[in-house]
Symmetry: C2
Subunit: 386 residues, 2 copies
Amino acid sequence: MREVAVIGVGIHKWGELWDMSIRDMFVTAARNAMDDAGVDHIDSMYIGCMSGGLFAAQEHLASVMADYLGVTPAAAARVETACASAGLAVRLGWMEVMSGLSDIVLVGGVEKMTDITGEEATFALSTAADTEYEGYNGITFPGLYAMMARAHMEKYGTTLEQLSQVAVKNHANGALNPEAQYPFPVTLETVMNSTMVAEPLRLLHCSPITDGAAAVILCPLKLAREKFKDHPLVVITGSGHATDTIALHSREDITTIKAARISAEKAYKMAGVGPADIDFAEVHDCFTIAEIMVTEALGFFEPGKGGPAVEAGETSREGSKPINTSGGLKSKGHPVGATGAAQIIEVTRQLRGEAGKRQLDNPRRGLAQNMGGSGGSSLVHILEVR
Amino acid sequence: MREVAVIGVGIHKWGELWDMSIRDMFVTAARNAMDDAGVDHIDSMYIGCMSGGLFAAQEHLASVMADYLGVTPAAAARVETACASAGLAVRLGWMEVMSGLSDIVLVGGVEKMTDITGEEATFALSTAADTEYEGYNGITFPGLYAMMARAHMEKYGTTLEQLSQVAVKNHANGALNPEAQYPFPVTLETVMNSTMVAEPLRLLHCSPITDGAAAVILCPLKLAREKFKDHPLVVITGSGHATDTIALHSREDITTIKAARISAEKAYKMAGVGPADIDFAEVHDCFTIAEIMVTEALGFFEPGKGGPAVEAGETSREGSKPINTSGGLKSKGHPVGATGAAQIIEVTRQLRGEAGKRQLDNPRRGLAQNMGGSGGSSLVHILEVR
């Protein structure tokens, strides 16, 4: 197994981008990543996208993006695990480089979500849940996470203030991220008084609908040392991938995200570290309750202690375990197929010392956790600076 | 790099299956493959599917299928390159086993195409082409391949009789395949008088709309030798993957499938063989012109000689280079996300001597070519019996 380095990252400002097509966004992010790495070709490419069909009437993104990026006949694959699609792309690119099959692999993701109506988008997102047993009975994603939030509040005493503090913290971070969709702070009062979506979740407990793309260039560490010296070297030391039941009603316990726990255990084992060794993390806060449940599943806090940890400031940039310094899905935005790659970008930038006004103090090891659906899939990657 | 063996294959009768859901079909095929291999668990899974969203309102098949196959928390990924999605699944599973990351990997594909109207299906399929520059201007897949057929006829003198003989041959083979959607012979006259679809292509020059799934189990050759002794051992010795422009109008030459040629060259190089060393092949006959163009791109026949080769019987079961002994997409059916895995199944069965009434005489090396869109993607695998 070869060690795999991240040698380039590329993104663009996310938002409601009516002047950019799905190919414009991905090619922009990919070119930015290639420029950052200083590479003029790639051997292979993995593109995360949840639903090119329902959101943008365009499948076969492998060929579309290889064509418009100008890299044909390079191998290209579109990969999907709902909102964890780009995390999957990172894992498969890491596998291809690790295996020795290819040297320079581009991994990333894209989603074009605002060219359809909000109703259509809600339907498209619902296909990440169990369509036959959940979607067709009327449940939507805010509803699924609202049930998890209710159960977590009931079992552990998690409070609405704690759920709201996640949004306050992430918007405080996102205000320092020029690529974020909503780069402004929000107050606790604003969050708690925002429009009700699915009780107890209000508008500002939910991540937004976003157009965006993100891309990362991977290569063997040895080659990175020889050829690419501009940036501090960031290495993927752990990769974990796990599934759980698609439907929430089939789970043993809906107050925990089992796939997040198992994927983290696999990544920790590969990297030879534990939760205490992680300096900071980007986690999948599609709803603020998700951030709390995931930080527990990753072993950062005991079950039920995720809420109090946020309230005590432990997950802020100045805390013991900074979470979502990028602004998270909440403030940075959540183009579902791209999110997992953007997490890797934030972790890489923090490790390189290139995170601007939100830079942490000399972090050495970061983690990215990307979730599909209501926890039916989870991908975890651990990155370290060498 | 570890050598990778095919130790199990599973399929079911394809057709218009209104009593089976997308999960029923995939789980049926996967269980059949696991039974054939004699394995009771898998480490990881790749599911090819072109458009779970547009055809079946179900994305996140990784979690759906891991759940209903009873293999959570195993890693699972849905992968897509349009109609080459299952070929991509085979390649990624091969990569995972080859790399040493996992031992037992299930690869396959599924598509549920008949639960929507024909018009909706035509639209869904069109998203494998360039939606902005082709689909929105009204072209459909029969139209794209009709243009290729016209150009091939003009440049090389390929005839309508030759296009029709592909269908006659593939239906003759498919009549011997109990899992085929249309297991009956057709005459040249019937093909040439069938309903016009897109001039010069008539109904019986086109593959059908199909519900179906297929699955294959891969493991390291060494482990296969130690643990799985029931079947002759079939090994993947070459894998090639290439892209081309998504839109037909961007190609240098529409009388050849460049991605098929390049993916074949990669696979030949890896396997250390050439076209003359291939005993038989399954190729992507989504339209009969495609089989002719692909057999030329694979190097089996000179450019322009694919049509005469069919007419001379060289690609029949008794010919020098049997093509599509399964019946091909034309007679066996074409559930787009599953086709690439079904090709691997036919090649494996022929190499094992388990192809029933369509069995070739002791073949030792077969090839499978799976195409995405109008040739924007191609995957080629070479399999040998040990």
